[in-house]
């Protein structure tokens, strides 16, 4: 097993290198380029443009640009944002905790809601409960997320008021109330709506996975055997069936985890949450090479890492799987 992990980690190095080359090339062909922001301004003379292009290193041939970037990365220098001039890692460092907080909490509530509901819905297949859950799950997946966020704000911020204070029931934006000292309660109050939005959308998918995985297992022979032995139904379901039904769901969860670092653009935009999704979007708009490369490469590394983690978890959970 240790050998396997080492081999996989070594394989990741050329993979990351290939990804970096492809992403770097793709960024270079984005129409407009980083100078597009200056093009419209008549006060910026062609001489200014040439000077800025030179300063930003945009005039070098692509391979020189790439080698410069690679050299800096190998020395641990991720460069500076073209737009804000701040170090790339500082920009990411400002946003990442916010994203992890929001996405982490939303991920946990999603799991907490969807797995029990999925199990229950499988056990009571074609019951009213199952139909209602299925409908809600599909609605959650098909409502435009942007629209749903606005509706949440319209109802819980604009429409409903706290009967005691007369203020909006939940805030529409940000992480904390401006001008007040920080308190965890205030932060939690600000998280209610975005977490609700993310949970509804995530839960639909997981509920469906859990349900179908459970359905598959409870019709297998060994479950019948367990029942025939006279085991209690609870033991049959939660010990024998769940352990096997959980396998594919665990894999999916592990593969979804790197997505938490990328943030959720729509949720962050609607609720003005200062997270990674908006950082990435802004960087893409400005064709901010250093920022884009950093965010994409970190994501690529995380995806590779969590894939490995999923494989390891799989071997641990399913004794039939051996990698050696």
């Amino acid at each position: 097993m240790t050998k396997y992990i080492i081999r996989r980690l070594l394989q990741a190095i050329p993979l990351l290198w290939i990804i970096s080359v492809i992403v770097f090339l793709l960024l270079q062909i984005i129409p407009g380029g980083p100078m597009a922001a200056y093009e419209q301004n008549p006060n910026i003379t062609p001489e200014d443009m040439a000077r800025l292009e030179e300063q930003l290193g945009l005039n070098d041939p692509i391979h020189v640009k790439y080698l410069k970037w690679l050299g800096n990365i190998l020395r641990g220098d991720w460069g500076y944002s073209l737009a804000t001039k701040r170090p790339v890692l500082q920009e990411i460092g400002d946003r990442l905790p916010n994203t992890l907080l929001l996405m982490g909490v939303a991920f946990m509530t999603t799991i907490l809601f969807s797995l029990p509901i999925g199990i229950f819905s499988a056990l009571r297949q074609y019951s009213i409960f199952d139909h209602v859950v299925t409908t809600i799950a599909f609605m959650g997946q098909s409502i435009p997320i942007f629209w749903f966020g606005l509706i949440l704000i319209m109802i819980f911020h604009v429409g409903l008021r706290n009967p005691v204070t007369g203020r909006p029931l939940f805030p529409a934006r940000g992480m904390v109330t401006l001008g007040k000292p920080f308190s965890p309660g205030d932060l939690a109050w600000h998280m209610v709506l975005p977490v609700t939005m993310l949970t509804l959308f995530g839960a639909g998918t997981y509920t469906r996975y859990m349900r179908s995985s459970m359905l598959e297992v409870i019709h297998l022979d060994y479950i019948r055997t367990a029942r025939a032995k006279g085991l209690a139904e609870r033991t049959v379901i939660y010990v024998h069936a769940l352990k096997n039904a959980a396998l594919p769901v665990v894999t999916i969860i592990a593969l979804d985890l790197p997505g938490l670092f990328g943030g959720a653009l729509f949720t962050e935009t609607i609720f003005s949450w200062p997270g990674m999704g908006r950082l990435f979007y802004r960087s893409a708009e400005r064709v901010d090479y250093a920022m884009l490369m950093a965010i994409i490469m970190i994501n690529a590394a995380l995806i590779i890492f969590f894939n490995l983690l999923a494989d390891i978890a799989y071997a641990y959970l399913d004794p039939r799987i051996r990698y050696d």
């Binding site: 380029g33 804000t84 001039k85 109802i155 911020h157 934006r173 940000g174």
Partner: protein
């Protein structure tokens, strides 16, 4: 309270319906065309309801931007959002008032020939600053800071985005702390506009060679009424009253301004309704009906210097960036009569009434506002004349399909149909609707106009990226450009024959129409070589007349600068030459 509850429920449905029928806005605008009584107020009127109380001290307002400033050093910033925030913190020697005239801020007076501020040859400008001005950290402001601003901007490693004007300065002398003598290498006509750039403090910045790494970039220190307290990336910037402001403690009246980032404009609209925010920045024309009906909110809608226009390509679109449009004319638009016919065929008043609720002024010229404003009459809507002109130009519909073909026209193949492409930025609802009206209007005179919109990054792409606008591969473009208080760089960039982007000049210039007019060139040169504003104004008038005659651009309507604020905010004065907070020291709140 009851009415506001009712209102929140109503507004919920309004926004719901906006979201639902986003593609069909005409249906939900029954009050279109009717001007709201509360829009476009000037200072006195805005403050009128509480005038007897007079300004009050205290209070904090919330100003929502949907775009976050990237950086707050004015020499490095390229966004409007950063100017909007800087306006509260930093100051310049001069400002521009709502009528487009210069007024002193840090300077004692506007330098002119009469007061000895401008030498006879226009090469030496003397600026006298007000006495006793301090930076917000308590350090004295001196004329040396102006000198530093010039040095920093011109330093080759500073990364300053624009050196226009600054590069024409030969030296700045500072005989004493309140006097700066600026000597120019050559005459620079917009010298007053140069003095509207914010001053950087020498003591609170750093080495110009290191400008991109200055701490000042994220924590600017200025002489303005407010100073920065905190910037939380992606969330908010808190500004508080500057205790060292020159009119303190009388002004500013407000204790502070919270600049918050709400990336969704829809959420911003909901929040100004509930009173969570006091100022909502940069609305679009389609928002007008919603805001006209909103309780407790004033829609500020002064005209902007931007005019939405059709930019016609006079050169052969199949040739890459030709420098000789006269010998390689556009197959249809190269003929002046076709361009005239298009203008006669456009009902500009209908566009304004149907799509802009009658609030815009009709487009006539490039210079629609300010001291240099041109006086050009609105073009006539006359489809008969348009048809007549097209017939004369050899464009006749013989096959009866409603589209004219070339039968003896000047530059096209015999039988070629008059089919022209119009392009603008995709995703802009108003522009798409204008295009549809134009398609109908052109169909009426026998021109088949077809739409092919592209993302703005593609339309406004660089020469190096091969953007079709720069390289001349288009028929008609539709967009807006704006100019600052001194229009020289703008007019020269767009209309001088030496500013046609070609391979030879590396794609410099904005004369995308590839329009060549000797008289226009002469007028541009004259406007750029006189220190006398009246002489320059006359030259611009001649230039505008040449543009109206030659029609490289057809002006549709003047854009509005739309912002909204809550009625509890007093002292707001519309001024499209500066940013919203240009008079923030006079703002106060009534509750």
């Amino acid at each position: 309270m009851r009415t506001s509850r009712l209102w929140t429920v109503l507004s919920f449905f309004v926004v719901l319906s906006v979201v639902l029928v986003a593609c069909a806005p005409a249906a939900q605008a029954p009050s279109g065309g009717k001007a709201a009584p509360e829009t476009g107020q000037k200072a006195g009127e805005a403050a009128a309801p509480a005038a007897e109380e007079g300004p009050k001290h205290g209070g904090t307002i919330t100003f929502a931007l949907y775009q976050e400033p990237e950086i707050l050093n004015p020499a490095l910033c390229t966004q409007t959002a950063c100017d909007e925030v800087d306006e509260f913190i930093l100051e310049a020697p001069l400002g521009v008032d709502p009528d487009g005239h210069f007024f002193p801020i840090l300077a004692k007076e506007v330098p002119t020939r009469e007061n000895g501020g401008v030498s006879e040859d226009g090469l030496t400008i003397t600026v006298h600053f007000k006495e006793g001005i301090k930076w917000s950290d308590g350090q004295p402001f001196t004329s040396d800071d102006l000198k530093f601003t010039w040095e920093a901007t011109m330093h080759p490693d500073s990364g300053a985005v624009s050196t226009t004007g600054w590069q024409d300065i030969e030296s700045i002398e500072t005989p004493d702390d309140t006097t700066a003598i600026i000597k120019f290498k050559k005459f620079y006509a917009p010298y007053l506009a140069l003095l509207t750039y914010s001053i950087l403090p020498r003591h609170a910045t750093g080495d110009p060679a290191n400008m991109p790494k200055w701490d000042f970039n994220w924590h600017p220190i200025g002489t303005g009424p407010f100073m920065m307290k905190e910037w939380v990336s992606g969330d908010h910037i808190t500004l508080v009253k500057n205790p060292n402001y020159r009119d303190a403690p009388e002004k500013p009246y407000l204790d502070g301004i919270n600049v918050i980032i709400t990336p969704s404009r829809e959420v911003g609209k909901a929040m100004i309704q509930t009173g969570d925010i006091d100022i909502l920045w940069d609305l679009v024309e389609a928002d007008i009906p919603e805001f006209q009906k909103m309780d407790g909110v004033v829609l500020s809608a002064p005209p902007d210097t931007g005019t939405e226009r059709l930019l016609l390509n006079l050169a052969d679109p199949t040739i890459d960036a030709t420098d000789d449009p006269l010998h390689h004319p556009h197959w249809a638009l190269g003929d002046l009569r076709v361009r005239q016919a298009i203008q006669y065929g456009i009902d500009k008043a209908k566009i304004n009434d149907d799509l802009l609720y009658g609030k815009a002024t009709l487009g006539t010229s490039e210079l629609n506002l300010g001291w240099a404003k041109c006086d050009i009459p609105v073009s006539e809507y006359n489809p008969d004349k348009a048809r007549q002109l097209l017939k004369e130009a050899g464009w006749i519909d013989q096959d009866g399909d409603g589209i004219r073909e070339c039968h003896g026209c000047a530059n096209a193949k015999e039988g070629q149909p008059l089919r022209l492409k119009i392009q603008t930025t995709s995703g802009n609802k108003l522009r798409e609707q204008v295009e549809q009206l134009l398609v109908e209007m052109m169909k009426d005179i026998g021109i088949d106009l077809y739409i092919e919109n592209v993302p703005s990054s593609v339309l406004f792409g660089s020469w190096a990226s091969g953007a079709f606008r720069k390289h001349g591969h288009f028929d008609i473009l539709m967009y807006t450009t704006t100019y600052g208080v001194d229009p020289q760089a703008h007019m020269e960039g767009y209309f001088a024959s030496w500013n046609i982007p070609t391979k030879a000049n590396g794609g410099r210039g904005f004369n995308y129409s590839r329009w060549i007019d000797e008289e226009a060139d002469a007028a541009i040169k004259e406007a750029g070589s006189s220190p006398d504003l009246n002489e320059r104004k006359a030259a611009y008038q001649r230039l505008c007349e040449r543009i109206a005659a030659g029609l490289p651009h057809i002006y549709l309507y003047d854009r509005l600068e739309l912002n909204a604020y809550r009625t509890r905010l007093h002292g707001w004065v519309d001024n499209n030459w500066m940013d919203i907070g240009w008079n923030a020291e006079d703002w106060w709140v009534s509750q």
